[in-house]
Symmetry: C2
Subunit: 170 residues, 2 copies
């Protein structure tokens, strides 16, 4: 089965993100707005409890932390993806590193750029239009993160939560 | 914020349910296939941690249990909703009752008929067509449940998981 690890930001951020995703993100209906902590990886169902145990350990050793969003950014020209840039606190970087140092299969192939996608798979023209008009808006959030989620993917591409891990609690 | 409590069945059941929901359930994109344990209720964000504590207690006192699906059924004529009938084990009934005996606001207004919706908001004609043709198919599942989820609703009507509760663990 295909699993992934993500953080759901507050309802406020999710509602703002969805107001754009609805129009500009074909993954809108597949998963709530999120910060990906670990890209999708394959794991046997029989082994997922080992992963859960490891994630509990990582969560227990990580304290809740805050992050800020101050602006939008884009992965263009690599992909036409527009996102809320999550200012990388040291804790978030450490959490990402810890998750990639476990026995969980597959190291992430990209550099870790914490973000919340609000638009993707745009044509070049759409991308410059949307990015241009969104840059006139203000995106300012600051919030505390105290959990992350292990999810699995269904055949239709959508994601279901398997388990929640509270930081500092295990 | 609006919260709800649900069980996600296995990926196998979710995939089968989604293959019908895709066409026949306007809530398809809002939440994965699920068994509702407690209908949506309003709770202040500041008080949700009290609810979490209560749910942890209930989870700890409830052992994992099995359930079976043997056939489809419908809520017609009350609503044109077609569902996989979850054969109500005593444990599932008890869990539902325990969740309604907590301080969590709002007792459920309907009798507890555990089910996984696969079609809803059909016209009368659609309902009899779809129900007629689906009844020729076999729906046979048996599986073990070891967790439930507390979710909250976003402005677009979709649901995000807030926390997972493992049965027998708290």
């Amino acid at each position: 089965m295909k699993y992934g690890i993500a953080i759901f930001p507050s309802k406020d951020i999710q509602d703002v993100a969805n107001s754009y995703r609805m129009r500009y993100d074909p993954h809108y209906a597949l998963i709530p707005p999120h910060i990906t902590l670990k890209e999708a990886f394959e794991e046997d169902d029989e082994d997922i409890e080992k992963v859960v145990k490891e994630l509990s350990e990582v969560a227990k050793e990580t304290n809740p932390f805050s992050f800020a969003i101050r602006k939008l950014s884009t992965f263009s020209p690599v992909t036409n993806t527009i996102y809320m840039k999550v200012e990388a606190s040291e804790e978030l970087q450490n959490l990402h590193e810890r998750l990639n140092r476990t026995d969980i299969p597959k190291e992430d192939t990209f550099n870790f750029v914490p973000h919340i996608t609000i638009a993707q798979k745009l044509s070049d023209d759409e991308h410059s239009d949307v990015y241009g008009s969104l840059q006139m808006k203000s995106f300012e959030f600051e919030e505390r993160i105290d959990r992350f989620q292990l999810l699995y993917q269904l055949d239709n591409g959508s994601w279901t939560v398997y388990e929640t891990f509270r930081l500092g609690k295990g």
